[in-house]
Symmetry: C2
Subunit: 665 residues, 2 copies
Amino acid sequence: MNIETAVATATEDLMSNAIRALAMDAVQAADSGHPGAPMGLADVATVLFNRFLNVDPKDHLWPDRDRFVMSAGHGSMLVYAINHLLGYDDMDIAQLRNFRQLGSRTAGHPEFGHAKGIETTTGPLGQGVTTAVGMALAERMHNARFGDDLVDHWTYVLAGDGCLMEGISHEAIDFAGHMGLGRLILFWDDNSITIDGSTDVSTSTNQAARFTAAGWHVEAVDGHDKEAIAAAIEAARADPRPSMIACKTIIGFGAPNKQGTAATHGAPLGAEEIAAAREVLGWPHAPFEIPSAVQDAWREVARRGGDARAAWKKRLAASPRADGFQQSLARPDTEALSAAMGNYKHRLSKDAPKVATRKASEMALEIVNGTLPNTVGGSADLTGSNNTRTSEMRPVTSGDFSGDYIHYGVREHAMAAIMNGISLHGGFVPYGGTFLVFADYCRPAIRLSALMEQPVTYVLTHDSIGLGEDGPTHQPVETIASLRAMPNLNVIRPADAVETAEAWEIAASSESTPTALCLSRQGLPTLRTRHHDANLTARGAYVLMETAAARDVTLIATGSEVELALDAAMRLAEKGIRAAVVSAPCFELFATQSPAYRLAVRGTAPRVGIEAAIRQGWEIMLERNDGFIGMTGFGASAPAPALYRHFGITTEAIIDSALKLMGRN
Amino acid sequence: MNIETAVATATEDLMSNAIRALAMDAVQAADSGHPGAPMGLADVATVLFNRFLNVDPKDHLWPDRDRFVMSAGHGSMLVYAINHLLGYDDMDIAQLRNFRQLGSRTAGHPEFGHAKGIETTTGPLGQGVTTAVGMALAERMHNARFGDDLVDHWTYVLAGDGCLMEGISHEAIDFAGHMGLGRLILFWDDNSITIDGSTDVSTSTNQAARFTAAGWHVEAVDGHDKEAIAAAIEAARADPRPSMIACKTIIGFGAPNKQGTAATHGAPLGAEEIAAAREVLGWPHAPFEIPSAVQDAWREVARRGGDARAAWKKRLAASPRADGFQQSLARPDTEALSAAMGNYKHRLSKDAPKVATRKASEMALEIVNGTLPNTVGGSADLTGSNNTRTSEMRPVTSGDFSGDYIHYGVREHAMAAIMNGISLHGGFVPYGGTFLVFADYCRPAIRLSALMEQPVTYVLTHDSIGLGEDGPTHQPVETIASLRAMPNLNVIRPADAVETAEAWEIAASSESTPTALCLSRQGLPTLRTRHHDANLTARGAYVLMETAAARDVTLIATGSEVELALDAAMRLAEKGIRAAVVSAPCFELFATQSPAYRLAVRGTAPRVGIEAAIRQGWEIMLERNDGFIGMTGFGASAPAPALYRHFGITTEAIIDSALKLMGRN
């Protein structure tokens, strides 16, 4: 080690110890939190930021910044400490003093949108790793469109043992290896500790061999040897494959009596141990106090990032692709989409043959993808069944990132988290497909779409017993309700091609709400024959067929069951009973309508709800004594018409329910 | 190859072709299904059954039978064909002719309980692999208790590319390798095809290296070379590690124009191609017709299984452990549990300090585990937080399977599926813990617990914003509703230590319904001071505090919010308002009560529901115009008391809601 390196290392050690001190002190002040990971990873993070990573606290959304993801989100104090030291203006010391307190930006886990310099919400393990894969993929796709001048950044992710034990990590790692995402570098916090104690208790996987098997480049270093860390990062950046750097670390490094044990993981160290750690680390400063030399060193990192951004700005100004680049990051042109979709809806004929809404979704997607330049489609190995690939789409491959269709493989969970990453990265608007029932496989990532307010679209086909022979494992009965339960998720179950087009207009225009489209496998007639100039689906529910005089009963249905409701209404009319039919494709949007509108739609007459699923969630439409025709348990394997008869979801059942409500049976 | 082998192989080839023919014919008859996998795997399956696997169609529940799991459940015709050929009396040829039809046992995917010889429900990919891991673990644990004489069987699982791409497979494979489950043999149907086409489209993982990294023994064979397959199985059985046999197969083997392509995966081959396949395979027989020589060869397999069972029966009769063995497979002694729990409840004092229901769960578990000899606990790396390990429990390790506590690692999804496997295997009653919000991570396997009617218990702690600082990623707000949506799952959210004891009695006594226990992180007072002789939780909801005269209002709450309801009722009484308090720990059990009981509990006065979660699902308790105090969106990071105030879940809010309903505000 020459003198220059020694000095650099000495300063870097202080920079690392600043992270450690802030993490100890903030967790202690909150009497809650996880000091172990930030203390263990402080050296790795310092080297990464000090020598490699480019961000600019003055422009935290600079598009070509490097992305940093703390997948082990419980170690949030690492992020907050660094962002404070870098000088983000929304992360002053008061934020750190108020770690985990109401209203502070320093939540228990890093929350996207709470503070600058938080690229994604983490905490649910494995999500950060997979979201980072999405960011790294988006970077290459954006690069393929706009070149090295404008898009040329790295994605770094810190992951713990928990992240790598979670199943989603397998999907992410395999996908990243297959796609050859060479600008993704994952640091494994190899500290041999989980909450239950030594990792020996539950795992003996050779992680290096595992990553190698998936096509990754692997380095292994002492996670407290800064030169070794730097050399490994250099090697990782030089390798064309995604890289995993196994960093052998000591959890809670610096806490003399507790380091290396689970005791540092999820609880304050205590005043005594913190004092001892200050001694060991040579950090005599008061809690939350950072000496100016250390502060200056961290600000120098920010300055370097600022210089990089300035250089990039010059390149952007000189680039012939600047306009296209800016457009790719702007909001979609919703007016153009609305106009195109309006024209398309007018072309839909009620005399057309039946069409499944999954097919109608493909038809609408032709409009979406033809109008909006930066949609990115995909499916978890069900492309032909989900109808997610439109005519002009080309696959994204490891050799050519200029495509716009992603074969996610049989990896629903990764698909969802990767879409979150693509959306967070910017430049693209992702959608992806699987069967509705397998929304369960990606539910934790759907939840993060909703929590982070990312306008990702889930194309969920085969949406009821109407899928037929595949049977109960594949038939959602509770899935729609479970998705409706999730805050900030629009669940849309269109009844026909017109509503499907409107649903896509809503999804593709959304700014901050993800959408789950529930689409039929079976063919459905076109029922909406009027009001094509308005997007009635956007009202959540609307009167599809009104009665001439006061209603005797209102039939409210969604998706494939609207056809049954109309049929029942017609047959009730033959009996002299006035039944209105309400199509209710989206309960969440209906909930946002005015009370007067909702009352007008629901009416005051008795109601029958019809949906080939459970009743839970229908309280927005129905009174407790109203009728409901649907499912009460799991489905069965048989052709769809037989199942509808078997489970009593029929025109006759609707009529019976209506008559019963009217006291006429 | 000597002559004897050649003859054996020739017969075996006919045995395999019988599977192929039945698969082709049944899918064609149904005009729906997946012929590719059964045809591709016919050789592997034939060798396995003909030379190794012991089952007895005359006693399909023989405890020491080998377990066979078709994880690639879409290839269900492989199972049905084999079970027909083996002579299971509920799988006659009419069942195969009625493949995928209403009321037949031959559902689109193998459904546990529909027919003998189906060890688990498969179809959602990766579940079978992981459930098989649970079975193999249970085998070793049972063996550790009762010895080789009584427990000495193998678990075989066939998995496709999809199974191995799913994240859950990573959790399963790592866990099995770590536990050294040497009697688990996984056949990988390495056919290089998924629905979207060649596997090259989405994966390039070296599966052999991947399994090796996880501690498995790996063999690779031509999946149509019977001697090679047999040799690989021999080698696998000789190796102490779990084994993966990579079988290079041709999907749809025998269909001359379609084999090796995705076209054989999920659609009938068509009459022409089937005729051509009959030609190629040298199978001139009519559809569903099996020549007697082939039939005899398969029956010989069943006879060998019957002999093995007879020998085992003799060993059982001679064993000093026979009684204990039989008891381990019998229903739990619910009377003893009820008595013990009754005694325990009487010891709980209302004057005791507050106790979190997660801690109360541990206290109740001491009774459960002390009374029932074959409970098996565990946690997905949150043992100390879930309070799942009671005082006498010892960990199950690769070196010692006599323990009864499983460190599942950070693998919620595998934990759930492994518990399904343990339960299906028999001999043990499993429970496992994680945070409630992470029920999302294991939801597909919880769904299978419910669908297969396995009495698995999920210990889901940290059940609301009451967990505090960890913030919105860790705070369930919609999770309880999403679990209540699932058919055949009892979701119990006890209010105090008494209800928690009752909840455990229900869970541990359940025969065919899994239980999700939602438990608080924060301390709660003991509210139930009477009726300890009855299990009031089993009624789903009950009047905890009745009014002296007719009710003005009924406050209905669950879990940690019952305390608030009681407080509000007391303060309303000060205003002269008569408020009854209902504790409603389990909506599903309440739904099974008589209308009269339900009416008596709910009352006819206005109601206020209180739960620190969303309202969806409360329609079983509330009218649409009743009040509700709970959550409407995601949580936040702060100490719990601050969050309750912030989100307005307070005594004051309950009082305001009650007054408003009574027109008195």
